[in-house]
Amino acid sequence: MFLRRLLTRIATTLVTLLGVAVIVFAVIRIVPGDPVAMMLPPGATEADIARLNAFYGLDKSIPEQFFIWLGGVVQGDFGTSITTRQPVLGLVLSRLPATLELSVMALVIAVVLGGLVALTGTRLRYTRTEGALDVANGMALSVPDFLWGLVLILLFGVLWPVFTISGRVSPNLVPEFATSFFLFESVLRLRFDLWLDLVQHMLMPALALAIPLAAIIGQLLKQSLKETMHLDYVTLARTKGYSENHVILREALRNAVLPTLTLIGVQFTFLIGGTVIIERLFSYEGLGNMAIDAVINRDLPLIQGIVLLFALLFTLVNLAVDLLYAVLNPRLRHA
């Protein structure tokens, strides 16, 4: 039963990815902008253009190009980047860890912040503190992540420069790492000097990504917590002698988390999308920054590779949410 569900899931994922690939492939070839024209110096001859077009396979029809590319992808060959002349797969995988670490860090910050806001708001419901939290939450929610980025740069990079607001790590420390998962590696190796440098770089972009998500989590979780607090089993727990804090944490939280969890899944994919601009803003060497360069340079194979990877990430996040949901909700476990 479980195996069948897993196979269905993989099949739908593949169909989704294929759809994404078709759309991206078509769109970037239809919109104006010719990669070959951008590579050649002014005054190149027609023959030069034709030769380069043929070299990159751009002289064939779009469907033909697509199937050639798809044939490569199936064999693990995502083509060669036009601008860097390196294999797309290698380029993309070298940047993936940076973006993953940033996204996960932002997610953790958002869940912790949003959770604290929701729990505090529930504990102090019907007081002025709840009202103040609601107002702050609304403000955090209505400002998009890139504006938070600019605000943070201004505050903690310029006016009170306590954080480094550019890059992922101090350049002189890069040779210290054996893998591309810098943050993860620094923790595993207990190198807290490296960890501190990384956090100093990553905290601001991660916070910019996290604030709007934290606000959404805080709002929804508080709402469902407050509803749960009126339910009979919560009242029954009160008669047993339990305190307000205990009742919120043990009786209400687990049930109230379920609707929020679905939302976190959806919003996390938006957050990953948000890394594109935030990474640019903070000169953070991740996938998003690479995506912008690829688009500017009309590096068609690279754009395709990055978008496909993003699409894969999104579907994996949704899968993880579904699994977590089943773990938290006993009624779904045997279904």
């Binding site: 727990a237 008669t239 047993k240």
Partner: protein, 289 residues
């Protein structure tokens, strides 16, 4: 010597002058079964909630006292009040389908109070939970302990809640219309079970119901409420022979009888309601003065 002693309890609707309970006084003896009857909105559930400290936010206690085992709950600081209630009293709730936490297994929901409030060790609390499930005639108690609420029927869940209420050997149990949400076929069994457990443990029981038929069978005394005001308080035997208060007589006449189920029921006459309203108005006048 009464275990629960309520004196002149007044509860208002928050932010208004409107009283929901109008100076209620009530005694429940240490092993006594007290029926609390009245129409919907008479305030019978409100009394049970006030005793257990679970009044909704919209209701506020503005006067009177609630003594549990000689201690006035309303003068205690919140933490001590909660603790005292958790140790000495328990609730059998109305709706078994919503009164168990869907995300937690049955076992911990029965034994958590024993461990956290009464300070038992976990193994003993678990053994007690299994024993008490056996007492409420649940087959295979060890399996039920590990089950989630959704795996049990409504009747089973009410048995679990009864077990949970009696597990900590409370001295007082408030049963808030415990059979209203159940199938008629299950109602009788559950009632029988509650009184079997009450008799065995010698617990004081405050039984909130609108069913005078049930009261006649199981309660020793009863209190009739109208509009948050006590109309009559009497021994059950004497009450059913000759209720003193006109409202009580009318209420009794409006109750179906098992001996003659086809007999016409008499609705409470207008004059009686008018008199009860007058009593309520007088009580309010005295209170506001």
């Amino acid at each position: 010597m009464s275990f629960l002693k309520i004196r002149d309890l007044s509860v208002i609707l928050r932010g208004t002058n409107h009283r929901l309970l109008r100076g209620v006084s009530l005694d429940v003896g240490a092993t006594e079964v007290m029926g609390l009857v009245g129409e919907s909105g008479a305030g019978k559930s409100m009394i049970g909630k006030a005793v257990l400290g679970i009044l909704p936010r919209s209701a506020r206690i503005v006067g009177g006292s609630i003594e549990l085992d000689g201690v006035d709950l309303l003068t205690l600081p919140p933490r001590q009040r909660r603790h005292l209630i958790g140790q000495k009293a328990a609730l059998i709730p109305q709706d078994p389908l919503t009164a168990l936490n869907p995300a937690r297994r049955i076992g911990p929901q029965i034994s958590d109070r024993l461990v956290d409030i009464l300070g038992w060790d976990k193994a003993r609390a678990r053994a007690r939970a299994e024993e008490i499930l056996h007492d409420v005639h649940i087959p295979q108690p060890d399996r039920v302990l590990r089950a989630y609420p959704h795996e049990l029927s409504g009747g089973m869940r009410q048995r679990v809640l009864i077990a949970s209420a009696f597990a900590a050997e409370p001295r007082l149990i408030v049963a808030d219309e415990p059979t209203t949400a159940l199938d008629v076929t299950v109602q009788k069994q559950i009632l029988k079970l509650i009184f079997e457990m009450q008799a065995r443990h010698g617990t004081a029981l405050l039984f909130v119901t609108h069913d005078l038929g049930v009261v006649s069978k199981i309660c020793q005394r009863l209190t009739v409420l109208y509009g948050g005001l006590v109309m009559e308080e009497a021994e059950v035997g004497a009450f059913f022979e000759a209720p003193r208060h006109a409202y009580s007589r009318a209420l009794l006449a409006a109750t179906p009888r098992h001996t003659d189920p086809t007999a016409d029921l008499t609705p409470v006459p207008e004059a009686v309601i008018a008199e009860a309203r007058r009593a309520v108005a007088e009580a309010d006048q005295r209170w506001h003065a």
